[in-house]
């Protein structure tokens, strides 16, 4: 195993904020009801169960191999209360509601074996598919069941990441205490069997020496120690840092024959194959100053956010954000269920009241990319809420946005072109497609201009107006097309 230090230019280190979680795992018990939206179908008849049926945790509720992804499985034991079409992010999809019977047991996935070495890739793929694990991560885990845009043998780089570059991160010790280190390595060997041609990397925060030592193993071809600055954990930048291949914003690591997975997914792989445990529950990191009590919790997938945050909100008006304060989406309806791609749930208080004469105050608890807050000298825990912290103004070329842009762009200039409706070859040549939507430019802008929104608009318009197609982008960056 080689160890290499790698990083990228730009970026921003988020540290010293309020609301970090404790490194403990709590159980919140079984939910009373769970919901499963069948996002990839419109028809009610495709559900494999009907109203009134008894279901067991691990049982298939929906399956369609023509659609990319895993089957939908039940995560608790109970009875189907209803199957009805519901509005879901703009379109109507069938939603199955199951009422719990209060038992914790689950049905193992078929074909489980104790002897991991005797398994071949086909067995593992099948287990992962039916356990619902195969669709974890941005591009899924490639199996012959159409769970990823690329085929298993095409994967050249398998990157396992734990970069801790976002504002709030999952604690590695929590994950590896629930399962052991050996489980993690076993999970990794299983993945290596599926993707035999891949070079395997572990991308780690280089400021985490105890775990670097523990995780050093010859199962990895390379240990990449990265600087924990945002957006290092974002798959596009991570793939570029690790493999040297630039992934433009419209593409995914799969286009560079790379698969990026997090530590928890590797553990799920182990669980599924070794014990037959389907993807029933996840460890969710609950962070942010909006929670009165912050920790990691074990939650069954399909539990509504209401049930997850119960008793932790302290009566505040919060915004709940999935996975990242920088790029994640806010939970629009707390009655919605947790989906399997959620790792972190962040609560930020809505800052609807501005602070009086803020600009004259020293700012002991305020963060700023410039050293204009007393916090730069006296680092007390920084307050963060959703207030805009200032009014939108004309750009004053302060330089923050292009000093932090991880893609080396000049967002200020690109934004001016898009704002003035000059979306043509020039913006394309100035690299707008390199933008990976990390939103860091908007975060640091002194004039509070929503720069990244302009980037998105510019890219969408270039494609719409026929200046570039996805295929042309891929060719010009030397990447491969995927399904």
């Amino acid at each position: 195993m080689e160890t290499k230090k790698k990083t990228f230019k730009g970026g921003f280190v988020f540290k010293g904020f309020q609301g970090y979680p404790l490194a403990v795992v709590e159980s919140i018990g079984l939910p009373e009801t769970v919901m499963y939206p069948l996002l990839d179908t419109k028809s009610l008849n495709e559900a494999l169960v009907s109203k009134g049926d008894t279901v067991k945790a691990g049982q298939l509720l929906w399956q369609n191999d023509d659609v990319m992804g895993s089957p939908v499985i039940a995560t608790i034991n109970g009875t189907v209360k209803s199957i009805k079409p519901t509005m879901w992010e703009g379109s109507k999809v069938p939603v199955i509601t199951v009422e719990s019977d209060g038992t914790e047991k689950w049905t193992p996935v078929k074909g489980v074996t104790e002897d991991l070495d005797s398994l071949d890739a086909a067995d593992i793929e099948e287990t992962l598919y039916f356990a619902g694990v195969a669709s974890s991560g941005r591009d899924g885990i490639p199996t012959r069941f159409n769970t990823s845009p690329i085929k298993s043998e095409e994967v050249q780089h398998l990157i396992v990441k734990h970069c801790e570059s976002d504002v709030y991160n999952t604690d590695l010790s929590v994950l590896l205490r629930e399962n052991t280190l050996e489980d993690f390595f076993d999970g990794l060997s299983l993945l290596k069997k599926i993707m035999p041609n891949a070079r395997v990397y572990m991308a780690m925060n280089r400021k985490n020496p105890p775990w670097i030592k523990e995780l050093s193993s010859d199962l990895f071809d390379e240990m990449v120690l990265v600087t924990p600055k945002y957006p290092q954990g974002q798959d596009e930048i991570l793939t570029e840092t690790v493999t040297g291949m630039k992934i433009p914003g419209e593409c995914t690591p799969a286009n560079a024959s790379a698969i990026v997975l997090d530590v928890q997914t590797v553990l799920h792989v182990y669980d599924a194959v070794k014990t037959g445990k389907p993807l029933l529950e996840k460890i969710i990191t609950m962070a942010g100053p909006g929670f009165s009590n912050r920790s990691h919790v074990k939650v069954r997938i399909g539990t509504s956010f209401d049930q997850i945050v119960k008793g932790r909100t302290a009566g505040k008006e919060n915004r709940y954000i999935i996975n990242s304060t920088m790029t994640g989406s806010a939970v629009s309806d707390m009655a919605k269920p947790l989906e399997s791609d959620c790792n972190i749930l962040i609560a930020l208080e809505e800052g609807r009241v501005g602070e009086i004469m803020l600009w004259t105050k020293p700012g002991f608890r305020k963060h700023s990319i410039m050293n204009t807050m007393a916090n730069a000298i006296f680092p007390l825990a920084k307050i963060n809420n959703t207030n805009m912290n200032g009014e939108e103004r004309a750009c004053l070329s302060c330089g923050n946005c292009y000093n932090v842009c991880p893609s080396g762009l000049y967002p200020t200039q690109l934004f001016k072109y898009v704002e003035r409706d000059k979306v043509d070859e020039t913006v394309m040549r100035y690299g707008i497609f390199k933008c990976i939507d990390c939103n860091l430019c908007t975060y640091v802008c002194t004039a509070k201009i929503p720069l990244s929104d302009f980037m998105k608009e510019g890219k969408a318009r270039l494609i719409k107006d026929g200046y570039a197609s996805k295929k042309e982008i891929l060719t010009s960056y030397g990447l491969k097309e995927t399904e």
Binding site: M326, G328, L348, L358, H367, S368, N387, C398, N400, T442
Partner: protein, 345 residues
């Protein structure tokens, strides 16, 4: 919402005040902060904002300002007040006409402008210069962030050309150009005498007169400039390359022709330090590209040495900065084209 804020909104809603909506909105923003929340990702934002940015620039000018008042008396204070009042009126009127918020940029321009004037300029001339500078240096381009030339320099240039006699009457020795009548430099150009560097640094006991009132207390200027760089409000590249290239080129040229003053004297005399730290770093009128900043600094440095040495003007700082301001869009364009000359997507 707070009670006083509600009251403010009630007053603002009165019919007679409807043309002044922008003013009320600005007061609301200054006093109560913004009530808006982020519309989506990113869900929280950095605390740097334009008011704090500007207040830092003003704070960095305080030592210089206090020294100017100390050296030249209360008239200086009146000049500053005049500049702010006139600048404020122009800014607010344009905000009302455009129905937009009042831009905070004049907080800095309003202070820099009097500091680059001779200390005994009559107030009416300050008023005219301030009006002209903000109006034609900034507002006709569309306000802060859209102007090409540094508004303070535009104002200064205008009164120099319109009233050469009052700009020169008290301060200008025969050889001096009007831009900054930097007298130790004039003395050097005339007699080849170098004023002691210690005198230059502190401005105390300076036998010869000052060109403009803000350039005298050089320790204060350096401290203010470093403060801004450490606070990351200004970029280090332009001052470093500007001062560096002045030192380098004056060293080379001084060896060739003694007509050019030696490096240390060049750096510490005239408006160079003030210009390098506070005017060449104005983010709006200087290049935004990193390479462009370097080119700007070096270009301004060469121009300054050349003008000072050969053009028959004693002071070249303001001229070189305004010339480079004019070149800024071109520099940026060339840097961008060069950087992306190979790419198509």
């Amino acid at each position: 919402m707070r009670k006083t804020q509600k009251l403010l909104h009630k007053v603002a809603d009165l019919k007679i005040f409807s043309p002044f909506k922008a003013v009320f909105e600005t007061i609301d923003g200054i006093v109560y902060g913004t009530p808006h929340v982020t519309p989506g990702a990113p869900h929280f934002l950095d605390h740097i904002e334009i008011k704090r940015f500007m207040i830092f620039a003003v704070a960095a000018l305080i030592p210089t300002t206090v020294a100017a008042v100390y050296f030249f008396g209360l008239h200086v204070l009146w000049m500053i007040i005049t500049s702010y009042v006139v600048g404020g009126i122009v800014e607010v009127s344009f905000a009302l006409i455009r129905k937009r918020e009042i831009e905070e940029g004049f907080l800095v321009t309003g202070l820099i402008f009097p500091l680059i004037l001779p200390p005994t300029l009559p107030l009416w001339a300050v008023a005219i210069g301030s009006f002209f500078g903000i109006m034609f240096g900034k507002e006709i381009f569309g306000g802060t962030g859209r102007n090409i030339f540094n508004p303070a320099l535009v104002g200064r240039l205008f009164i120099t050309m319109a009233f050469p006699e009052i700009m020169s009457a008290r301060w200008i020795a025969p050889f001096t150009d009007t831009l900054t009548s930097a007298t130790p430099l004039t003395v050097f150009n005339g007699e080849g005498t170098i004023t002691s560097l210690r005198e230059l640094l502190f401005g105390i006991g300076l036998q010869t007169g000052a060109g403009s009132m803000g350039e005298v207390f050089r320790i204060g200027i350096i401290a203010g400039g470093l403060f801004l760089i450490l606070a990351k409000v200004t970029d280090w590249k332009i001052p470093t390359f500007y001062l560096g290239s002045v030192a380098l080129f004056s060293w080379i040229l001084n060896m060739v022709s003694p007509q050019v003053a030696p490096p240390a004297f060049q750096l510490l005399s005239g408006g160079l330090l003030f210009g390098a730290f506070f005017m060449a770093t104005d983010p709006v009128t200087t290049p935004y590209t990193k390479m462009g900043k370097v080119i700007f600094g070096v270009g301004a440095g060469i121009l300054t040495v050349l003008i000072r040495g050969f053009a028959g003007y004693a002071e070249g700082v303001m001229f070189s900065i305004i010339l480079m301001n004019g070149m800024t869009p071109l520099i940026d364009h060339m840097v961008m084209e060069n950087k992306y000359r190979k790419s198509t997507i």
